[in-house]
Symmetry: C2
Subunit: 462 residues, 2 copies
């Protein structure tokens, strides 16, 4: 078989110890962080140490037309790293060095396998941070989160991964490599290849080195919790904060179902008769934080919110513990947790929350919704059981409707989880047939044989 021939050639090059082929090893790479997704064992898992080895792997894969799946920590939530067509998984545990922290230019240069949190630990002594903060910062890798263009809680003020990727080294399907971007703040040389490969979900090339932007760490922070007995008041508060010209670092919302579940699980002191709570954090230099926190409190009160302001780090921790408990608390209630990331313009959040509630009722499902209200990125979380086929049919219908509603509201299929396998079928809703054709033309221009992460995002011509 040609896949086996490819594996033998890779083994000859890298040695057998960096080419895993036992059933036990392969099983670990047959799935990823996505619930309710298919699984499939790869034929081998390869651990290169250098860009040149990645190039060699791709040359061999090209020769034998063997699919290749670049993989970070597999924490994505869209089936983005499942080796659905068999072939070779390439992982980057052995390319995990922070090559440089350049405090003067506010950049870091890293290998693909560096964990996001490790980078933040390394730059902290310089008083700097790398802001993108997906929930998986302590396991997710720099190249994985770049390929997925991960978001997080601070999107509104700080942006997402794409805003911090300044330069990339990429290996193409044919084994050739190139570099684009660099340490300059401004760069308009030709098409923005750095942005094209950021968020390309491993379908256009393999990222083998990254230059990322760092920013000064905020000196101070202040957190507030506001409780609302009316969803519209919560919505007006979100709008009112922005209208007061305050851009909070985080502006999170939890709906009634989530509040009840969190409270039952974590006893965080949330009032279970509330319709919504907002968790707000402002940051910056101390004078700004004071001023902005006051403005936020005023807006919350104006729209009938009951506000608690954390007076110290312990109180701040307690407020955030409730938010962090949202997903574990929901997940604890059922064997399967289908976590989506439908995203709408900020002004339409109350409407979207109501639509999700109606969909839950229609399909007789429990859906808790929480998420990043500041940037319109909601996480409707469906509590279900994969073994219950009848229920899962209702779940799939509900998911279809949630995305249909999000797109109809001028939103997007994915705020931060990516398209992967999970949302390919919806793509035309957002981009139209012409937009999807543009994706396909770009994919085929760079990877005509669909060797890189096949079965994700862009379907081949049928």
């Amino acid at each position: 078989m040609s896949v086996q021939q490819a594996i033998r050639e890779v083994e000859a090059l890298l040695g057998k110890e960096r080419v895993l082929t036992t059933v036990e090893d392969l099983a670990c790479y047959s799935f990823d962080g996505t619930a309710d997704a298919p699984s499939k064992r790869p034929d081998a898992v390869i651990m290169p140490k250098t860009t040149e080895e990645v190039q060699a792997i791709m040359r061999i894969a090209s020769k034998y037309k063997t699919p290749v799946y670049p993989r970070g920590a597999g924490t994505n939530l869209s089936g983005g790293t499942i080796p659905i067509k068999g072939g070779l998984v390439v992982t980057f545990q052995m390319m995990n060095k922070i090559l440089e922290v350049d405090a003067e230019n506010l950049t870091a240069t890293v290998q693909p396998g560096v964990i996001i949190a490790s980078l933040n630990t390394a730059v902290a002594p310089y008083g700097l941070i790398y802001p993108p903060d997906p929930g998986t910062v302590s396991t997710a890798t720099m190249a994985g989160s770049t390929a997925e263009c991960s978001g997080g809680l601070r999107g509104l003020k700080y942006g997402v991964t794409k805003h911090y990727i300044m330069g990339l080294e990429v290996v193409l399907a044919n084994g050739e490599k190139f570099r684009a971007g660099g340490k300059t703040v401004k760069n308009v040389t030709a098409y923005d290849l750095v942005k094209l490969f950021t968020g390309s979900e491993g379908t256009l090339g393999i990222i083998t080195e990254l230059i990322v932007k760092l920013i000064p760490a905020p000196e101070a922070k202040k957190s507030m919790l506001a409780i609302f007995s009316d969803l519209d008041d919560a919505g007006k508060t979100i709008a009112g904060i922005i209208a007061a010209k305050v851009i909070p670092a985080t502006l999170e919302i939890m709906d009634k179902t989530t509040i009840e579940t969190v409270e039952a699980f974590a006893k965080a002191g949330l009032p279970t008769d509330a319709e919504a709570v907002l968790l707000i954090e402002v940051d910056g230099i101390p004078e700004v934080v004071e001023k902005e926190a006051q403005a936020v409190v005023e807006v919350c009160k104006r729209f009938n919110g009951k506000v608690q302001v954390a007076r110290d780090d312990a109180e701040r921790e307690k407020l955030w513990a409730a938010r962090r408990a949202a997903l574990p608390a929901l997940a604890r209630k059922s064997p399967t947790t289908v976590l989506e990331d439908a995203t709408v313009p900020r002004s339409r959040i109350p409407e979207m929350l109501r639509a999700i509630r109606a969909i839950a009722k229609k399909y007789d499902l429990l859906i808790g919704t929480f998420g990043h209200a500041g940037d319109g990125n909601l996480h409707p979380t469906i509590l279900c059981d994969e073994r219950n086929a009848e229920q899962m049919k209702r779940v799939h219908k509900a998911v279809d409707e949630i995305f249909r509603v999000a797109v109809d509201m001028g939103g997007t299929l994915s705020g931060e989880h990516g398209i992967g396998m999970a949302k390919m079928k919806y793509l035309e809703w957002e981009l139209g047939a012409t937009g999807v054709d543009v994706l396909r033309r770009i994919k085929e221009a760079l990877d005509p044989d669909y060797l890189l992460n096949p079965g994700k995002m862009v379907a081949g011509r049928s």
Copy 2:
């Protein structure tokens, strides 16, 4: 001739009054803002009123294989809008409406021909700004500056055009259209088509509508001028300001040649024995501005800078008048002003200024350099005379060397002017043969016949 046939079909559709063909009209569109560039008359200039008309024009152009050059105000500085292969120029004076200002979502939706300054006038009553500020804000259009990914003075703190383009409607070479992006802060649906078309210099599609991000206007500003008799001290000051965790809104530098020229022209009170001046502006809420201004003054003094702080708007105006006089003052000294935008990592600015000075000496040329020190984006400005063939040979050699040095320092060919016709020949220096091949594959995937802005950025296969 097929071009004439295409023009007749467009006339039949739009009426003759929106299809210009007189020699006088065509002459106006035979060149753009770029000095030392070739000129060429188009066969017609077309003024569509709707996206559907743009689609019809592209269908006709496709049928007759007629080149099409989308054009805003033609203020670019890389020959990006010169109709070098003849054909049809398409302009957007009649698609210049601001369709919506959405203060709640902090977005505006505009037609391609809206002038940048007009958008800022329209959003000012909401206390909002659209930050990208190329020198040509009062004439340049939204789609033109998006296609070129214009920069400006505020790049370090506020980013450039690409950071503010959230959604696009695009007409492709074949006349089909699609939309990507929208009003959501987060969007990771598929490849980042919005970013791919931003900065694509009209070579991939025609932008027919834009959704852009707005931000709250800063409440206060403070400007400072610092004078240095040693170039290294100026460099250390730039680094020191960043190290002090201050990100100024603007951080401009002028070299000795520029200072002397500005002073002779504008009598702004600059000391002509200075080696460099820095012009620094911090902005934000008043408390921050005070604190950051103090930090900047301290850093300037630490590195032997003589500092003036503007005490009021009149003094602020006076400081900035000197900076604004830089280009006119330099331009006044010679018939031709070759203005480049070689960009290096911020830390290498003193080294780059010295390299430019050495190149000026080597080729016996007068080069004044000013620019955006905060983001490493320098504007070496060569004063020359296009009619002097011998001198222009030296100018071209000097330009070659300036870009070679910039790339060797880890910089880029273009910080904000684009590649256009002017810098195609250097592309491999930055992107390598493989990177240039990636550009070509993307171009040919979307515009296989090179109908859109041919002769710019991406050369066809030879």
